[in-house]
């Protein structure tokens, strides 16, 4: 028995499962994206037409697709930095020596991640309510006029970002916290003896110490945020005036509401391409990454 093949035997079950449940469906979806599969084709497969790249060309010339892509990019641009900054600040706070009840705070900040999205979205809808919401009430106490968060196309996406960041920052926070705690304490002690202040210790020890983790968390967050769907689905249904319609939401509408599965598959592949390119760029831009 050749030792080179032994490894494959061990991997075979996993590879087999991946093939059947992951790569084959992807291939099928790609084939589907080259057809005009819709409700008529569902009734009678002879009505299915092979149309080459027409779905892709159509999509790229549909204003709604660009609008959805623009909305999604806007969400990523606002949400990812905000989410990462919040995560790292909270992780630093939780790892600092003078915070008491660490377990309690860590759990509290992580709770949004494990609560159901629909439930917390409902609560946020109350909080964001134009006339009866707590957020606008607080703003009015500070002298601001009320903001129609979910009804004004300008504020709807920031409102979704607010909710998404609140919901997700805990996950990254826990990963970053683990990375911070993995840095040997001796490094800080030695630096302190050498007269390094808190900022210098952060910049020269913590920052390089968590850089690989940070890149990893950044890539995951960007890829995740590009797949925005559930938040607008529950909070705004893509409105007002399609201002929170994301690429994935468009895919859902096309595929599962209208059964244009060909078009929906094409959207899926375009979104995959976009995320792939962005991830490549991210890796290129972070040379300290050890991924």
């Amino acid at each position: 028995m050749n030792a080179r093949f032994n490894g494959w035997w061990f991997a075979a079950p996993a590879v087999g499962i991946l093939m059947v449940f992951f790569f084959l469906p992807i291939l099928a979806a790609f084939a589907l994206s080259l057809t005009d599969f819709d409700i008529y084709a569902l009734a009678d497969i002879s009505r299915l037409r092979f149309i080459g790249l027409k779905n892709y060309i159509d999509l790229l010339s549909t204003p709604l697709f660009w609008k959805a892509l623009g909305n999604t990019c806007w969400f990523v641009l606002l949400g990812v930095p905000l989410s990462l900054v919040t995560s790292i600040l909270m992780a630093l706070l939780l790892s600092s020596a003078w915070v008491r009840l660490k377990g309690f705070w860590r759990t509290s900040l992580f709770v949004p991640v494990v609560t159901t999205l629909v439930g917390s979205a409902l609560v946020f809808r109350y909080l964001l309510h134009t006339r009866y919401g707590l957020i606008n009430y607080s703003l009015s106490q500070l002298g601001f006029s009320p903001i129609d968060w979910l009804g004004n196309p300008q504020y709807s996406m920031p409102a979704i970002v607010l909710f998404a960041v609140w919901k997700n920052f805990g996950y990254n926070m826990v990963i970053l916290l683990a990375a911070i705690q993995a840095i040997p304490i001796e490094l800080y002690e030695a630096a302190q003896l050498d007269g390094a202040g808190p900022w210098q210790r952060f910049w020269h020890i913590t920052r390089p110490g968590i850089a690989p983790t940070f890149t990893f968390v950044g890539i995951l967050t960007v890829a995740g945020y590009f797949q925005l769907f559930a938040e607008p689905y529950v909070m705004t249904q893509g409105g007002p005036a399609q201002s929170t319609l994301s690429v994935l939401y468009l895919l859902y509408d096309e595929g599962f509401k209208w059964w244009n599965l060909g078009r929906a598959s094409a959207i899926a592949f375009l979104l995959f391409l976009i995320i792939y390119v962005v991830t490549l760029l991210q890796r290129r831009l972070s040379p300290e990454s050890q991924l």
């Binding site: 569902l42 705004t236 209208w258």
Partner: protein, 429 residues
């Protein structure tokens, strides 16, 4: 309309159970008790067991299984069932879904059964409602209950504005809306939720030119009639008579209607029960319903509701038809109305005491003689969604009405493109 989440998981178990059941039944084709599966949706599904109990007792030879679906998931489940060839025998079908399921060749034509039936008398049904179950002259379902949109209004506010009767036509309606706004500029005269297309569809149906042409192939949103309807609708927002809000942005319709935040609301029969239940006591005798005003006198509205359809794949069509006939009896429909508040599709049922004496239902009775079906193409729901999106953009000032109508017509024609191609090839009936 939004059943509990537990229903979802229960449904999964039920579906699994059905699969097992079908396997068992499939082995024994000479089963003495044929299993008739009935998919019912929402509130109707909850009362069906009780409604059908006398029938089940009278027919011990038949094993009638009622399976409940939530409204939110029913449409997707139906399409999946067709795709997976696991359709039930009978289904409660939203009338707007009929064209889709006919396009999928999933339904059994019932013309023969209707003409032989002693119970289902075609002429007894409201014409506009019966038409919703027809495609190219073939009947695919029997209307079960009806739904149309009309005016809910506050009598006291209208009186304070100087009117003692609901509006007869758009001109009078307009006067009333303006007068009500003057009472309190902070409130609105009418609530037209920006996330609903039904009010616009109802106003559009009042015009002579249909949304889609005779050939069921080309959109006609560029007609003068439709433009007039939309102009009227938009003017309500321009003059601040209607609030630029979705129904997610108010606390809820009942509270705000009770507070007088708006005095008119376009809605359907299910809200009779809801208004009775949820409006504050002090306004309970201050509201009523009225037929929808049209451009010149009483206007048309949407023919909605649900019908009972038998699936083509059903092995027990005869038994299924017996169920449909039972549910179509006026006496049973009267009981059904008592249980759900749903309005019957037959004129003879409307003569029965439980419904003839309901003051809120009277306006619906009048309106039902003037209902029109929405275009019977499978793409209608998607086109109506485009209409809603257009209206939202125009109301928010992203572009003007003419630009909006041009875009709507283009989008609708793009959605209908495949249909036109299939019609041209002659593959589609």
């Amino acid at each position: 309309m939004t059943p509990g989440r537990s229903l979802g998981s229960r449904l999964v178990y039920r579906l699994l159970w059905c699969v097992c059941l079908m396997a068992v039944v499939g082995c024994d084709t000479h089963s003495p008790r044929p299993v008739v599966r009935f998919w019912a949706i929402g509130r109707e599904g909850e009362v069906l067991e009780e409604l059908l109990r006398p029938f089940s007792q009278a027919h011990p030879e038949m094993n009638l299984k009622i399976e409940r679906l939530p409204w939110t998931g029913a449409h997707a489940k139906l399409l999946t069932a067709v795709a997976g060839e696991s359709t039930p025998d009978i289904c409660q079908l939203g009338n707007t879904w009929v064209p889709e399921l006919v396009a999928l060749k999933a339904l059994m034509p019932v013309d023969g059964l209707v003409s032989e039936s002693a119970t289902v008398t075609r002429t007894d049904y409201f014409e506009g409602i019966w038409a919703t179950t027809q495609m190219r002259g073939v009947t695919y379902a029997v209307p079960w209950y009806v739904d149309t949109r009309l005016l809910f209004y506050r009598k006291d506010i209208l009186k304070r504005a100087g009117f003692d009767h609901p509006p007869k036509d758009w001109a009078e309606w307009d006067q009333q809306l303006v007068a009500i706004k003057r009472l309190n500029p902070k409130n609105y005269s009418i609530f037209l939720p920006l996330n609903e297309f039904e009010p616009m569809v109802a106003l559009g149906l009042q015009q002579a030119t249909p949304f889609i042409d005779e050939a069921h192939a080309n959109a006609q949103f560029n007609s003068t009639g439709f433009r007039n309807s939309m102009q009227f609708y938009m003017s309500l927002f321009e003059r601040d008579l209607a609030s630029k809000m979705t129904d997610q942005q108010i606390s809820n319709v009942w509270t705000e209607f009770g507070r007088g935040f708006f005095a008119f609301y376009i809605s359907g029969p299910w809200n009779i029960t809801e208004f009775k239940k949820r409006l504050p006591k002090e306004v309970q005798d201050q509201w009523s319903t009225a037929p929808l005003p049209g451009p010149h006198g009483a206007g048309e509205s949407i023919a909605g509701g649900a019908s009972l359809a038998i699936f083509k794949n059903s092995a027990h069509a005869k038994e299924a038809w017996a169920v449909v006939e039972y549910l179509s009896q006026p006496a049973v429909q009267e009981r059904f109305h008592e249980l759900t508040g749903d309005l019957p599709p037959r004129r003879s049922t409307w003569l029965r005491p439980a419904i003839a004496n309901d003051p809120y239902a009277v306006a619906f009775r009048t309106q039902l003689e003037r209902v029109k079906p929405t275009p019977r193409v499978p793409e209608w729901e998607q086109i109506a969604t485009e209409l809603r999106v257009l209206a939202e953009h125009v109301v928010l000032g992203d572009y003007d009405l003419d630009e909006g109508l041009r875009r709507l017509n283009d989008n609708a024609n793009r959605i209908l493109a495949k249909r036109r191609a299939l019609l041209a090839d002659g593959v589609l009936l």
